[in-house]
Amino acid sequence: MQFNSFSDFISMGGYGFYVWLSFGSCALILLGIFLDSKLSHQRTLNAVSKQLEREARIKKAKQESK
């Protein structure tokens, strides 16, 4: 370990703001793109199933009106 105490680690030899700004924004962006990809899977499944149901309903209605 390069640092003697936790406060030393946080201050990063006076460069704490820049180091933690970098790592913080990096973590946020990585998490953001990961969550977006994860959630869009369920969104995709829902959207596709809704569209397929709708198409099936339309087909049925057309057959009944004949």
């Binding site: 990961f34 990809s37 596709v48």
Partner: protein, 259 residues
């Protein structure tokens, strides 16, 4: 000789391959991000000149490398999609673009946060920085071009052409520090004469590059799965998949109601 590759042109096989590969990429990504960040932040020695501010290198360099690496893969996929008309390659272009844009954004932000204490400015219109910013715009262009068309067939073709033409920016980014007199420093790890970086900093950097590469792989596979589903929604296998999914959900709801 290359015949074993042919089935992977089929969307369903590609989807299954994504599912098989995903856990490996995810495990490597999580493990190496934890190791790389702890090593880089806590255990690598401080730089004799830049002190602890240089620790930004452990995310700046990997994200910059991956921003260009992702673009190269995207351009190769675009070329394949245009020449051999493989739909999976077209979907790969669309899956890669947002991930590459995220990498470029990280490289730009961490670069700014490193430039401020070292150069005294968040941003300068230096050749390296400007060409990297153009890379971000190229990614955004590919994404918005794809979203601009209702017909996804022509949307994909337009995005592929832009992705391919934009590849000219890659050598410009790479050689910008040699061709122009930039404030940005020259190459550190791609110089193989040795001595540019000490082993105690080189190895944590390598772990972080692996971490970012595995992360990009994981997220691209996840996004590619979604794109395949969207484009193949009228195929029976997708319908089967969705019926399974809704049945599972109904089961879960049923269980909860039983309690």
């Amino acid at each position: 000789m290359w015949k074993w590759l042919h089935p992977y042109a089929k969307a369903q096989t590609a989807y299954r391959l994504c599912n098989t590969l995903l856990p490996y990429f995810a495990v490597v990504a999580v493990a190496s991000i934890i190791i790389g960040w702890v090593w880089g932040l806590g255990f690598a020695p401080a730089d004799y000149q830049q002190k602890d501010s240089y620790r930004i290198i452990f995310i700046h360099v990997p994200s910059a490398i991956l921003s260009m690496g992702a673009y190269s893969s995207m351009a190769i996929a675009a070329f394949i999609a245009l020449v051999w008309q493989l739909r999976n390659a077209e979907l790969a272009v669309i899956a890669i673009a947002p991930v590459g844009a995220a990498m470029t954004l990280i490289a730009l932000i961490t670069g700014a946060a490193w430039g401020k204490p070292m150069w005294g400015a968040w941003w300068v219109w230096d050749a390296r920085l400007t060409s990297e910013l153009i890379l971000l715009f190229l990614y955004l262009g590919v994404i918005s071009l794809y979203n601009a068309f209702e017909d996804k067939g022509s949307a994909g073709r337009a995005s592929c052409i832009l992705a391919l033409v934009g590849a000219i920016n890659l050598p410009i980014i790479h050689f910008s520090v040699e061709w122009w007199n930039t404030l940005h420093q020259g190459a550190t790890i791609t110089k193989f004469d040795g001595g540019a970086i000490d082993a105690s900093m080189f190895w944590p950097l390598m772990v972080n590059i692996l971490a970012f590469a595995a992360f990009v792989g994981t997220v691209v596979l996840m996004r590619l799965k979604n794109e395949i589903l969207l484009r193949e929604k009228h195929r029976p296998w997708v319908k089967g998949l969705i019926t399974n999914q809704t049945q599972l959900e109904n089961q879960n709801v049923g269980d909860k109601n039983a309690v």
